[in-house]
């Protein structure tokens, strides 16, 4: 028979005021299995805890019930206290006599009767508690970062600086992502390449970081601390170990195709480095463009390569590696505005460009060496119109959300144009101007002082008349339609999730929201974590944001990863499900309902009568199970049970209530 100790707390007057604590302690003495019961002014205080410990020794108690405040307050305190005694910390139940009894009732007699009832239920439950010990799972001290933009680079650098191995998987031939394409960054106007290329070089040179460019995640197995990831390396046709990056092959390559890096505004060769400061600064061959690979002609690069690093027979390679934690940093892409807005010309007019294309134009390493010119005739534009919220905040034609960064980079573009082109005029059509950061509002004020003309209204139509682009819109402040004859139009297009993010998310077993942004565990309290333990996210893959937020999220994700990798093992909560495999019929319905995919069907040796057979039964992965208990109610046989809240405990609690 259990020897239960019941300790009723006065909590000063919080409980004692409306609950007759002595009467409750007295009543507890006669409950089944109770060996000792008393009340005390402050159970959670040092003397209170000491008094409990003494009672445990003195009365040889083996289970404890404490009638006090909510278990959500001091359950951990009392469990820590029990760690110092011979009683397992999980042989403890707390009756909520304060928040759900004393504070919410006035009639002392009824409140006391309810308090006794609550203690009865706690006693009935604790009688059925089983001693639980936390188990541990080993941690592989390596991290994987998916995505090589500024988010992935920053996270990788922080983790590597903490002394852990990091692999960056990037599907483009170089890391750097979108940030390295930009010219200046708001609000400080420092040059984007000057602050991101050093980080790229650090990442490339860091002893703890391995760069896997032109690679994609193929398969992910395992769970926190023990991820097994297969990485697919696309054929590069250039042996990067031999290649010194001399660039001779690039100069001699005859084929010219549009450069994705320069947003289609310049050409690149088939064997190419995306841009000068690419890391790794070694070329790859574009299989669709290369004459050798498509028509088996040319082959100049192989001939002139001093080291013979070219290998046309290169194939896709798969490598499988172990990781303890994963950071998703897949970034964003701009929406295809040509499909969404045919009324802006649908791409017919060369001088209607996106913000990213303008960044390449104004960039010194861009196709026009930083001269802002019209892609159509190369002339310097005098009148430029910037249209904001193209695709954002437009549920009918585009996305419902605001893309957060365009207000600021549009102001930056205006500032750059007014700065670089003497007596130019810039008109910015806007719905609202959002400047949610430090120094942002001042930056916006300066742009207006520079002479940028902000017109509050949307643009309805853009068309070409002669060499001019006619931009028809409205100025809702003066309530009249407005027409601007412009030389160039820059569209601040919406951000959307990077293409291909669906595969990454489904392989990781995490989820996405309706706009394909990766779903964070909790938007306010756990913004860089996902539902699956050990998988984190940072940057624009979670939603539109600017570089300062991206970098701070990268740091946060890195600290979460470091928090895991710091330990050789990870303690798992003992309050998780457990399968009684003798009774399990292997129907698999628990597997389907588990939100964490923590249950799987396994083959185990078993006996059927006298024959040895292999049985299919369910098994819970201790690392993944978070203890929600959904499986216990789905299982008809009741053979999967949740430790700490077993069927037995709850049934006895129900019985105790109704005596």
């Amino acid at each position: 028979m259990a020897r239960i100790g019941v300790f009723i707390c006065h909590c000063g007057t919080n409980i004692a005021a409306t609950v007759d604590v002595e009467k409750v302690a007295e009543a507890a003495k006669s409950m089944p299995g109770v060996a000792y019961a008393r009340d005390y002014k402050y159970m959670c205080s040092e003397p209170g805890q000491a008094m409990i410990k003494e009672a445990i020794e003195e009365h040889n108690l083996d289970r404890i019930v404490i009638g006090s405040c909510s278990p959500r307050m001091h359950e951990t305190t009392f469990r820590k206290m029990l760690k110092g005694t011979k009683i397992n910390p999980y042989l403890l139940e707390i009756a909520n006599l304060r928040e759900q009894c004393a504070w919410v009732h006035t009639d002392k007699a009824k409140a006391t009767e309810k308090a006794i009832n609550l203690v009865q239920m706690a006693v009935a439950k604790v009688a059925n508690n089983k001693p639980l010990t936390t188990s541990t799972i080993p941690i592989t001290k390596r991290a994987l970062v998916i995505g090589g933009g500024i988010a992935g680079i920053q996270a990788a650098l922080d983790i590597a600086d903490a002394g852990y191995d990091v692999t960056i998987v990037e599907k483009e031939p170089t890391i750097g992502g979108h940030m390295v394409m930009l010219d200046k960054t708001f609000p400080t106007m420092d040059c984007s390449a000057c602050i991101s290329t050093p980080k790229m070089v650090d990442a490339g040179a860091h002893p703890n970081i391995t760069l896997k460019t032109s690679c994609e995640v193929e398969k992910v197995d395992g769970y926190i601390g023990n991820f097994e990831v297969t990485i697919k390396e696309k054929a590069k046709y250039v042996n990067h170990d031999l290649c010194t990056g001399c660039g001779l092959c690039q100069t001699k390559c005859p084929t010219k195709v549009t450069s994705e890096f320069n947003q289609g505004m310049s050409k690149r060769s088939a064997i190419y480095i995306p841009f000068a400061q690419a890391v790794p600064s070694k070329p790859v061959i574009d299989p669709q463009a290369c004459l050798k690979l498509t028509k088996d002609k040319c082959g100049i690069c192989e001939k002139i390569c001093p080291i013979g690093a070219i290998n046309y027979q290169d194939e896709v390679k798969y490598t499988t590696e172990q990781y303890g934690a994963i950071v998703v940093a897949t970034g964003y892409e701009l929406v295809d505005w040509k499909q969404m807005y045919p009324e802006y010309g649908g791409g017919k007019y060369e001088d209607v460009i996106t913000g990213l294309q303008f960044e390449r134009l104004v960039n010194a390493s861009g196709p026009t060496e930083g001269h802002i010119v019209r892609p159509s005739d190369g002339k310097e534009p005098k009148d430029v119109v910037i249209v904001k919220c193209v695709g954002s905040r437009d549920p009918k034609k585009g996305k419902t959300y605001c893309s957060r960064a365009c207000c600021m980079y549009s102001a930056k573009h205006a500032h750059q144009i007014l700065d670089k082109i003497p007596n130019s005029r810039v008109y910015i059509f806007y719905m609202d101007v959002r400047t949610p950061g430090k120094g942002y509002e001042e930056f916006y004020d300066n742009t207006r002082k520079d002479g940028a003309q902000y017109i509050r209204g949307r643009v309805s139509k853009i068309y070409k008349e002669g060499s001019k682009l006619i931009v028809k819109g409205e100025d809702s402040l003066i309530g009249r339609p407005v027409t601007v004859e412009a030389d160039m139009v820059i569209l601040a297009t919406a951000m959307e999730a990077a293409p291909g993010v669906e595969e990454v998310v489904s392989k990781l077993g995490i989820s996405m929201d309706k706009d394909r942004w990766v779903q964070e565990a909790h938007p306010k309290l756990r913004p860089v974590e996902t539902q699956s333990a050990g998988i984190f996210l940072c940057g624009t893959c979670q939603g539109p944001k600017d570089i300062p937020d991206t970098v701070s999220q990268a740091g946060a994700a890195a600290s979460k990863v470091i928090g895991i990798l710091n330990h050789d093992e990870m303690e798992t909560s003992p309050m998780i499900s457990h399968v009684d495999q003798t009774k399990c019929a292997g129907c698999g319905y628990c597997v389907e309902c588990c939100p964490y995919k923590a249950i799987s069907l396994v083959e185990v040796p078993g006996r059927d009568g006298n024959r040895k057979v292999t049985k299919t039964v369910a098994q819970v992965n201790e690392g993944l199970c978070q203890g929600c208990g959904c499986c216990t109610a789905t299982c008809r046989t009741g053979c999967i049970d949740l430790r700490g809240f077993t069927n037995d405990q709850i049934l006895k609690e129900v019985d105790a209530l109704c005596l």
Partner: protein
């Protein structure tokens, strides 16, 4: 019987049974055989070619043959089942619950046009849904408009009348668990009711325990019931068990859309999954 008379079907069954046994892959053929009473048949395991000649086919073959496949969960050889529409649904049920493996079954499908059994009137699946060989021409199926008529009628009674009705019924239950043993959806290795230590279910056969058993079984089987009516047929005390499980099926159809179990491509049982756009009454 489309095309074939009962006698011709019977010969075909015996012929198929012999062929199956002859192949050496099948340990036994489960069908029906005649009994002392000419208006009754009993399930029969034919294990030799001679015994195959005892297999019969007439309008008194009413026992379900599907559940017998569960006798041996780890068979060395296949087991052949003479399967009518409802039997094939029973096999599909157990296959979907992963209690049987398709490669352990050799299903001899027989097109049935109803037996001397109350449940056969509304039968929506006269043709077997899964089979390795088919005897008879598939007939045209009709939807049973009155599938839930009995339930709807019962719902119209007042709460007290309904309670009194069920109380009397559950007073009769003797806890023999025949319903559980005959039901293809009741395929657990160890039934919750037998786990006395956890105390889900008391042992007494009084109204209180019987009500809990009746409702728990209705809830366990409700979203997987193939409406074969075996539970009602085998109950020695004639409890209207189907009237409970069919209530669950009716509600499932109302709440979550058309739903029928035992089909070859069975969807996930309703209680094992969810849809975001499910109706919500608890706001």
């Amino acid at each position: 019987m489309a095309g074939l008379t009962e006698a011709q079907v019977q010969d075909r069954i015996r012929e198929e049974a012999k062929k199956a046994l002859a192949s050496g892959e099948v340990s036994a053929v489960v069908g029906w055989t005649s009994t002392r009473f000419e208006d009754k048949t009993k399930p029969y395991f034919a294990e030799t070619e001679a015994e195959c000649d005892l297999l019969v086919w007439n309008k008194y073959c009413i026992n379900g043959t599907g559940k017998f496949a569960l006798d041996d969960r780890y068979p060395e050889k296949k087991i052949a089942i003479i399967a009518r529409g409802c039997d094939s649904r029973a096999l599909n049920r157990m296959l979907r619950d992963k209690q049987l493996k398709r490669e352990n079954l050799y299903i001899i499908g027989v097109v049935c046009d109803g037996k001397e059994n109350a449940v056969c009137e509304g039968c929506q699946h006269k043709n077997p849904l899964t089979y390795d060989v088919l005897i008879g021409e598939p007939v045209e199926e009709q939807m049973n408009a009155e599938r839930f008529k009995e339930i709807e009628a019962f719902e119209k009674l007042t709460p007290d009348q309904r309670y009194e009705y069920w109380a009397k019924q559950y007073d009769k239950c003797i806890h023999c668990y025949a319903c559980r043993n005959a039901c293809p959806a009741c395929n657990c290795v160890e039934c919750y009711a037998d786990q006395y230590r956890t105390g889900w279910q008391g042992k007494a056969a009084d109204r209180e325990q019987n009500q809990v058993y009746g409702l728990t079984r209705a809830f366990h089987v409700g979203d997987r019931c193939i409406e074969c009516g075996e539970c009602e047929r085998v109950c020695p005390m004639n409890l209207p068990i189907m009237r409970q499980t069919k209530k669950m099926l009716k509600d499932i159809n109302d709440l979550f859309g058309d739903y029928e179990c035992g089909l070859p491509d069975d969807a996930m049982p309703v209680l094992g999954t969810y849809k975001l756009e499910d109706p919500d009454e608890f706001m």
